[in-house]
C-alpha cells in the first residue's frame, strides 16, 4: 500500500498517463481510502487549468501592436535600401 507522500510524487505521471498499470492501480487503491489525496489530486489539476486559462488571456494591446507594425515597416525599409 502506498503512502500519501508516494502518491503525491506520482501525481505528475499519473495525470500524464505514463505510470505502469500496476502502479496506477495501487495509486487508485490509495485514492479510494484517502479523501485528502483525492482533494489534492483535484486541486492539483485545477491549479494547472486555472493558471493556464488566466495566463493565456494575454493579448497584445493595440498600442503595442501599432508600435510593432511601424517597427516592422521601418526594418523592411532599411533592409530594402541595402
Amino acid at each position: 500500500m502506498i503512502c500519501c507522500k508516494e502518491c503525491i510524487d506520482l501525481l505528475y505521471d499519473y495525470i500524464e498517463g505514463s505510470l505502469s498499470q500496476d502502479t496506477s492501480k495501487s495509486l487508485e487503491e490509495h485514492f479510494e481510502e484517502c479523501p485528502p489525496c483525492i482533494a489534492f489530486l483535484n486541486t492539483y489539476k485545477s491549479t494547472t487549468t486555472l493558471c493556464r486559462e488566466t495566463l493565456n488571456q494575454i493579448k497584445i494591446p493595440d498600442e503595442v501592436r501599432h508600435t510593432l507594425q511601424s517597427f516592422l515597416k521601418e526594418q523592411k525599409k532599411q533592409k530594402e535600401k541595402k
Binding site: 500519501c4 503525491i8 505521471d13 482533494a39 486559462e53 495566463l55 493579448k59 510593432l68 517597427f71 533592409k79
Partner: protein
C-alpha cells in the same frame, strides 16, 4: 496537436527560415504574424510589464531578422525563437530591481514519518471555473505565478501555459526530461498551495453567507 498539424507547422517554419535566409523582406511580416503573440505573451508573463514586453518583442524580432544566418537548424526554429525570447527577457529582468526569492521548499506538501499528509486538504476544485474572469482571482493567480522562482517559472510557462511538449521544453532549456518534469511538478505544487489559501478562504466566506 495532431501529427499532421505538427508536420505542416514544421514545413511552414522551414520555408520561412529559407525565405529569411535568402533575404526575402516579405518573410518579416510572416515571422511577426506567426510569433509576435507568443513572444509577447511569454515575455509579459515573465516581466509583468507592457512596455518591457514590447521592448523584448521588438528586440527578439530584430534578432531573428539579423541573426537568421546563424540559425543552423540543429533544433526547431520555434525553439530558437523561444530561447532568444527567454534570454532577452532575462536581460531585462536583471536590469531591474530584484524581488526577494521565495523558497519553494517551504510550500511543498509536508508528511509525517509514516508518509501521511500533515495538513488538512480541502477540495476547492469545484466551481472555480466560474471565478476565472473575476479580477481578484486573476490577480491572485498572476501574483502566485510571479512568486515562482525563475527556474520553475520558465518550465511552467512553456509547458503548462504555452502547452509545449516536455521534450520541446527540454530542448529549449537544455534540460533532461526528468529535470523538466521535476521542475514542473514543483511549480504546480507551489501554485496549488498558493491558490489553496485563496480558494479555501473564498469558500469559507461563501459558506458564512
Amino acid at each position: 496537436m495532431s501529427f499532421t498539424q505538427q508536420k505542416e507547422d514544421k514545413e511552414i517554419e522551414e520555408a520561412l527560415v529559407r525565405d529569411l535566409q535568402a533575404g526575402d523582406v516579405e518573410a518579416y511580416d510572416k515571422i511577426a504574424e506567426l510569433y509576435q503573440k507568443k513572444i509577447y505573451a511569454l515575455s509579459f508573463n515573465l516581466l509583468r510589464n507592457q512596455m518591457d514586453a514590447q521592448d523584448v518583442t521588438q528586440e527578439v524580432l530584430l534578432t531573428l531578422f539579423r541573426k537568421i544566418n546563424t540559425f543552423q537548424g540543429k533544433s526547431a526554429f520555434s525553439s530558437w525563437v523561444y530561447r532568444i525570447t527567454l534570454n532577452s527577457s532575462y536581460m531585462k529582468l536583471r536590469s531591474k530591481k530584484k524581488e526577494p526569492n521565495v523558497s519553494i521548499d517551504e510550500l511543498l506538501p509536508s508528511f509525517n514519518s509514516a508518509g501521511f499528509q500533515q495538513e488538512k486538504i480541502q477540495d476547492w476544485s469545484e466551481n472555480t471555473e466560474s471565478l476565472l474572469f473575476d479580477n481578484e482571482t486573476r490577480e491572485v493567480i498572476n501574483k502566485a505565478v510571479g512568486l515562482l522562482p525563475e527556474k520553475e517559472k520558465v518550465v511552467f510557462l512553456l509547458r503548462d501555459v504555452e502547452g509545449l511538449s516536455t521534450e520541446k521544453v527540454g530542448e529549449i532549456l537544455d534540460l533532461t526530461i526528468p529535470a523538466v518534469k521535476s521542475r514542473l511538478h514543483r511549480a504546480r505544487l507551489f501554485l496549488r498551495k498558493k491558490l489553496s489559501g485563496y480558494f479555501e478562504e473564498y469558500n469559507s466566506q461563501k459558506g458564512d453567507i
